[in-house]
């Protein structure tokens, strides 16, 4: 029986020219127009990740070295040992290596831009959302560092620690810088320990091996073109129209008494609604495949991770199925097509605006962006954009869960409040 509902629904959708126009022709036209007209908004970005780093030093590295040398002279070490330590100091200065060798690395400079800022501006700087990360070097950092390396048992020695302020609004970029510094720290600690027992510092240490991995992973991230962005955005908007169409067709079934026939055939209300749910999922899935397929053939918007792409497409289709079920139920319950009309005119537009169909929500307020992520459009767009840029499926699990919850929850609500008696 379920197959009957499915087959019928597919035929009804396919045979309606207005459906084809609304579901396929209009989004293709919009993708083309917006993709080309607003291409400039996206072309300025060489990389999807750009991290601005502020470097604030509360002390002075030269003064710290001098203070350490004074300490050396006053120590009980013999002159030969003092000379050896002084010889090693130049190769051990972590801040110098971090500034000159890590952040000045050619590959990294494409993504990370470091600016030295005076300490007195630190408070103001923390409120500046432009910076992904602020690195604060505390007073006497280098002195304490050298003391911890050569005189770890000295009581005056403090554990040298850099302070890192990460901007939560720039999660990806700030995490990237934090990872690079952490990698650097691990490598550095290891090499220093080896140096202390007589194994010389590896010259390549100046470009830590793990940092190299991070840099390469950033290089692998694909930038999003306007056409790719609008293929995703417009598709996410128009796929929701499947739900309102399903509701409209269902209401027509009720008005023409076809639903009466269905009930008299001893089909249950649940199987009728499940037919709506599953057919909406399949239609939404096919629609998205056609739209993304067109974009691939016409504009070269290619998905490298096809299985992740399909996973997201299935999840958004499930969400659409949930909406279709609920809209159908509300149309039946209130004996009116108002809910289909409301959903297609107001609901879809609000979801599209909040979800970032037309402009990326990152440019909006923090609250709007957060709400946007919870909309089906926003969740699906985030997931698609991440996968398109080359991130793994694990980065989009929350979005996939959100979409599936939408679908299942709305379907359950739809079934549970579907009217037992149908008004004539």
């Amino acid at each position: 029986m379920f197959n009957a509902f499915l087959k019928k629904q597919l035929l009804v959708f396919i045979r309606n020219p207005e459906v084809i126009i609304l579901q396929l022709v209009m989004p293709i036209v919009l993708i083309t127009i917006l993709g080309f007209a607003l291409g400039g908004l996206f072309e300025g970005e060489k990389s999807p990740i750009e991290a601005k780093v502020a470097y604030v030093s509360q002390g002075n590295e030269e003064d710290d070295i001098e203070e350490f040398k004074t300490f050396l002279q006053k120590s009980r070490l013999d002159p030969e040992a003092i000379a050896a330590i002084e010889g090693q100091i130049k190769t051990l200065l972590p801040l110098k290596i971090l500034r000159e060798d890590v952040f000045e690395n050619d590959k990294l400079k494409e993504f990370v831009h470091v600016k030295e800022v005076e300490p007195e501006k630190l408070t103001k700087l923390k409120k500046n959302k432009d910076y992904a990360v602020i690195i604060e070097v505390p007073e006497k950092f280098t002195y304490h560092f050298l003391m911890s390396v050569f005189f770890p048992s000295e009581q005056t020695s403090e554990k040298p620690e850099l302070k890192l302020y990460q901007n939560e609004d720039r999660e990806l970029a700030s995490q990237l810088v934090a990872d690079i510094i952490e990698d650097f720290q691990h490598q550095y600690t290891l090499q220093t320990a080896l140096a202390k027992i007589g194994i010389p510092m590896n010259p390549e240490m100046k470009q830590p091996a793990e940092s190299e991995v991070s840099i390469q992973s950033i290089s692998a991230v694909k930038s999003v073109s306007a056409i790719a962005y609008y293929t995703i955005g417009i598709s996410m908007m128009f796929v929701l129209y499947v739900a309102s169409m399903a509701g409209t067709f269902a209401f027509a079934e009720k008005e023409s008494n076809v639903y009466t026939r269905i009930i008299l055939s001893r089909a249950s209300r649940t199987s009728y609604l499940m037919g709506t749910f599953i057919s909406a999922i399949i239609i939404a899935f096919i629609q998205l495949l056609i739209l993304f397929g067109f974009s691939f053939i016409a504009y070269g918007v290619k998905w490298d991770d096809l299985s992740s792409f399909l996973a997201i497409t299935i999840c958004i289709a499930i969400a659409v199925g949930g909406f279709a079920t609920l809209v159908t139920t509300l149309n039946y319950r209130f004996h009116s097509q108002t809910f289909s009309n409301f959903f297609s005119s107001i609901g879809v537009t609000i979801f599209a605006l909040l979800g970032g169909t037309f402009v990326p929500v990152k440019g909006m307020s923090e609250t709007v962006a957060e709400i946007g992520k919870l909309t089906p459009d926003g969740a699906a767009m985030n997931a698609y954009l991440n996968i398109y840029q080359g991130y793994g499926i694990e980065t989009v699990i929350p979005q996939l869960v959100t979409l599936c919850i939408y679908g299942m929850m709305l379907a359950v609500i739809g079934v549970s409040i579907f009217p037992k008696e149908v008004r004539q």
Partner: protein, 310 residues
């Protein structure tokens, strides 16, 4: 076989059906006659288990269907007044769909589709999309869809509304065949007297939610056996003439429509001469006067004071 016992349906404060009793025996063809708004469709909805009555009971083979309608639904076909079909599917696709929701499949389904298409005379047009059909063809397919599961009983709600005479005849013949050749019980509602007279063995006449007469055609017509109907055709409608007829003591009913006036008088009364006098007095020209034997229409007029199609 199917019995409605004192059923009432009330929407808010309005009683649409009020204490209705009726029954249909196996193999019987029953007509439910009444004007628009009489409550026929609501009655059908209650009898076919779609809408529960506000009070009263509906029983199928002595069992109430209010709590368990499944047994009735298994053997019942309903032809709604609306064209309850998918306009974007072909005739065959529609029948396949309605067969499938009745758990039919495979060769059995295909065979039944062919049989029904043959019966409703749409075999040649089976691949035509329904929206391209004429009104009559849609009505035939509307009946076909309710025959897919071989029902024992079929309820038809005004199945000939708004169609051409040829399609109407085809439908009436089909309904007769369903009853006579296939033994189906039929409840046929209409406000066309001649259809009900042609098809039905027994007739219920309904008005304003109540049954006002019941019986065979002859039994119902016998209500008017003491009366006769005169149809007067005048050149120009004249209210004075109609009023003067109404004032005649022996005239029981007067109805007018355009230049036609229908009156009901006792059978033994000869009113011809008096009518010409009244016409002369009100400057009305009578073109013809025709005496008729009673029809169901006359019975309805007699019982309600209104014409069926008003």
């Amino acid at each position: 076989m199917l019995e409605a016992i004192d059923i009432t349906k009330q929407f808010k404060k309005k009683k649409v059906v009020d204490g209705l009793n009726m029954y249909i025996e196996s193999g019987e063809t029953v007509g439910l006659l009444g004007p628009n708004g009489a409550g026929k469709s609501t009655t059908i909805s209650m009898i076919s288990s779609l809408v529960p009555p506000t009070s009263g009971d509906v029983r199928f083979r002595k069992q109430s269907i209010l709590k368990n309608p499944q047994e009735l639904r298994r053997v019942l076909g309903v032809v709604p007044q609306e064209i309850a079909l998918y306009n974007d599917l072909s005739a065959k696709e529609n029948l396949l769909f309605f067969g499938r929701i009745h758990q039919m499949s495979g060769k059995q389904l295909q065979k039944k589709v062919d049989e029904v298409l043959e019966l409703i005379g749409l075999s040649e047009q089976k691949k035509v999309i329904t929206k391209h059909f004429s009104g009559g063809m849609k009505r035939r397919l509307n009946i076909g869809a309710s025959l897919m599961h071989d029902p024992e009983m079929i309820i038809m709600d005004e199945p000939t509304v708004g169609i051409d005479p040829q399609s109407r005849n085809h439908i009436l013949e089909t309904v007769k065949r369903l009853n006579q050749e296939m033994g189906m019980s039929i409840l046929y509602t209409s406000h066309y007297m001649e259809e009900v007279e042609f098809i039905c063995d027994r007739i219920y006449i309904m008005d304003q939610g109540r049954i006002i007469a019941v019986g065979t055609k002859d039994e119902i017509k016998s209500i008017l056996s003491a009366e006769k109907t005169l149809t007067i055709k005048v050149e120009q409608p004249n209210e004075k003439f109609i009023q003067s007829i109404r004032q005649e003591g022996l005239v029981k009913e007067v109805q007018s429509s355009g230049n036609m006036i229908t009156i009901v008088i006792p059978k033994e009364v000869n009113l011809f001469a008096r009518l010409f006098q009244l016409a002369e007095g009100t400057e009305t020209t009578i073109q013809s006067i025709e005496a008729q034997t009673p029809t169901l229409e006359d019975v309805f007029l007699h019982l309600t004071g209104r014409a069926l199609r008003n």
